[in-house]
């Protein structure tokens, strides 16, 4: 498949000899305007990749933080259409930072797979993570998305054994996402030693870059992860900054965007310093 912004960004990171920071925010959280503002600010704050959550009423693999963010977005009127518009708005200002849409299959299925891929491509989406589509369901959108030039990113987990792993990475492109804990988002954190071993195991099966997510909450943890993997994904902790900056009515307080971007900058610093320290 053609080279995507994701491929280019990982190549650039390799040249810079540093790991990448992937940040997750939910599209439309806490309201459309603030969400667009956050998105626009993320690259300058140091996000190398943006995972944009497609809100869903029943996020089965997510803990309370992302569940609530999804609900806020839906309450604020988010739909698949507004999510794609958000990406298009971002793309007008930023032609380089990869955007990966992440979520559950039903809203995509109801939008229509072909229509979704066309509009996502046109809006400037580079990758897709659909939590409830394992390789067993690859015909649904994994294979069509490759045809459309969008990377379908597969999740691998601690439970993905040696027999299964080759099948999971076989059709993967862009990067491989390692879910570092058996659990939902925003709960436990893995021990870095376990992450290191898991990434080594993955590298025996794929040459694709490896991003590690679930349970990474601090700049220190993110730094630890990029010492052993190609990128660290931070979601719930960042979304938590949104939650912390809402008023009693659930409306964004003035400092919300800065709080999210400020935390992104701390994470980015952690990630950027990690290899330098490692090299020193």
């Amino acid at each position: 498949m053609p080279v995507t912004r994701i491929d280019r960004r990982f190549a650039a990171l390799r040249r810079e000899n540093r790991g990448g920071l992937v940040v997750f925010v939910t599209a439309g959280d806490p309201d459309p305007r603030t969400s667009a503002e956050i998105l626009r600010g993320l690259p300058a704050a140091g996000a190398d990749f943006i995972e944009l959550g497609m809100p869903f009423s029943d996020p089965m693999a997510d803990g309370p933080a992302i569940q609530m963010s999804s609900q806020r977005a839906l309450k604020g009127g988010a739909t698949m259409k507004t999510t794609l518009e958000l990406v298009a708005d971002f793309r007008q200002r930023d032609g380089e930072t990869p955007i990966i849409l992440m979520g559950y299959y039903n809203p995509v299925y109801i939008f229509g797979v072909d229509a979704f891929l066309n509009e996502a491509k046109a809006a400037g989406v580079d990758g897709l993570i659909i939590v409830d589509l394992p390789p067993e369901e690859e015909n649904e959108i994994c294979l069509p998305s490759r045809m459309a030039g969008i990377n379908f990113i597969y999740l691998t987990a601690p439970t993905t054994d040696e027999i299964r792993l080759p099948r999971v990475v076989e059709k993967a492109s862009g990067f491989v996402y390692y879910v570092s804990i058996t659990g939902i988002t925003g709960t436990a954190s893995a021990r870095i030693e376990d992450v290191r071993k898991a990434v080594e195991r993955l590298r025996r099966h794929t040459d694709l870059p490896i991003a590690v997510g679930f349970g990474i909450k601090t700049p220190e943890q993110a730094a630890g992860v990029v010492a052993v993997a190609d990128a660290a994904v931070v979601g719930s902790a960042l979304v938590g900054k949104v939650t912390e900056n809402l008023d009693e009515d659930g409306k964004a307080r003035p400092g919300l965007t800065n709080a999210v971007l400020g935390f992104t900058a701390e994470l980015a610093k952690g990630v950027r310093d990690a290899r330098l320290k490692g090299a020193a």
Partner: protein
């Protein structure tokens, strides 16, 4: 409608009934789901497993459950000859226990040391807690906070049986949300935990496995009705939440060309009000809880809240095999409102001395609607899926019956 040569062949290797079913789960769960499938396949071909099932079903559950000629109801309605399949007489009071014995044995075979389940009416929770007590396996039940309020006796029973009941406040606080929480628990505890799904829905192999464990209902009916009447029934009727009691009754008869199937969804306050749980009558295909099936959802693919007076039917989805049977036209899907179900609840109680579960009362109401037109020659078997003890508070409240 084109007739297929068999309606009993599904699912295929990918867990599909037509386009429905499948394995729409996170990668973390996938290896375990495959393991469940493997173990279930082995168990199904293992005579020792079958013998163990039979042992518990007969000595513990009390099977076979009787097939009862509902003579007064038949006379009252003046039409079809009505039989009740008495699943209400099972140990724990509903058909749910059939499946729990089967999956409990499977969990034991897989060496799992902890069982989780979701429950709506609490019947599945009670049946799961019961089997866990029997097999000495720790048990956690997820139950919506709204359901905890309206099915209090069952909450008490589960706790007495040693289960931990975890209230779920997310979403509407009903069955759908309990399923989400159970799935979240499972992802976090895959190594030790078996998820004992209570209806013929979820990722493959659950829909097929739960169906197989519930087919004991239809298999017994075939024998019993042949004994009583010398022939097969003309009409089979059952209520539908996720669809396990209905598929258990129907499946053994699906290839009998002259048998007609009627499945009853909950119309809540009425389909036109939008406050209902009739996924097939008013929903559209989508993907939730591991399978593609008919769902109540909005135009953006967000799942909508269901509504039914009966907690066990209060779910915005349905098992995938029913979606397929619906599309093929082999089974008719109709719906009954809260008010109609309540009326049928009282009618059955007064006429037959049987207090039915509110879920089953939906099937009774449908029988009431159709029996007259069917005529006296028509042999009708209705699945009385459970007893109504758990619903007495709800019924007393809405019907204004004082102590």
């Amino acid at each position: 409608m084109e007739q297929l040569s068999t309606y009993r062949a599904g699912p295929d290797d990918s867990g599909r009934f037509g386009i429905y079913g499948g394995r729409f789960v996170a990668e973390t769960l996938m290896p375990l789901i495959l393991d469940v499938e493997r173990t279930y396949k082995e168990a199904r071909n293992d005579a020792a497993f079958a013998a163990e099932m039979d042992y518990y079903l007969s000595t513990y559950v009390g099977r076979p459950s009787p097939l009862f000629f509902a003579e007064r109801l038949t006379r009252h309605l003046g039409g079809a000859k009505i039989y009740f399949k008495r699943e209400d007489l099972n140990h724990t009071g509903a058909h749910k226990i059939n499946n729990c014995i089967g999956q409990g044995l499977l969990a034991r075979r897989m060496g799992k040391t902890r069982i989780i389940a979701e429950t709506g009416a609490g019947q599945h929770g009670v049946a799961t807690a019961t089997v866990c007590a029997l097999f000495d396996i720790p048990c956690v039940i997820y139950m919506g906070s709204k359901d905890i309020d309206r099915q209090a006796p069952n909450v008490f029973r589960m706790k007495m049986l040693g289960a931990e009941v975890k209230p779920v406040t997310a979403g509407s606080g009903t069955l759908k949300d309990s399923l989400n929480e159970a799935l979240r628990d499972w992802v976090a505890n895959v190594e030790t935990t078996y998820y004992l799904i209570g209806t013929s829905a979820g990722p493959h192999p659950y829909p097929a496995m739960v169906r197989d464990f519930q087919c004991v209902i239809g298999d017994e009916v075939r024998e019993q009705i042949t004994g009583a009447e010398g022939r097969l029934p003309d009409t089979l009727v059952a209520c539908i939440g996720g669809g396990s009691n209905a598929i258990g009754l129907f499946h053994p008869f699906l290839d009998e060309k002259n048998v007609r199937f009627v499945a009853v969804e909950a119309a809540g306050k009425g389909i036109e009000t939008g406050r209902h749980a009739a996924s097939l009558s008013a929903g559209s295909p989508g993907v939730l809880h591991g399978n593609r099936t008919y769902l109540l959802q909005d135009s953006d693919g967000q799942i909508e809240e269901a509504h039914s007076i009966s907690a066990g039917l209060d779910y915005p989805g349905i098992g995938p095999e029913h979606s397929w049977l619906h599309d093929t036209g082999r089974v008719e899907y109709v719906s009954i409102t809260d008010a109609e179900a309540l009326e049928a609840f009282h009618l059955c109680t007064r006429l037959e001395g049987i207090i039915p579960a509110l879920e089953s009362a939906h099937a009774i109401a449908q029988v009431g609607k159709m029996a007259g037109a069917l005529g006296a020659g028509n042999l009708l078997v209705m699945n009385l899926s459970g007893r109504g003890d758990k619903d007495l508070d709800t019924v007393a409240r809405v019907s204004g019956v004082g102590p």
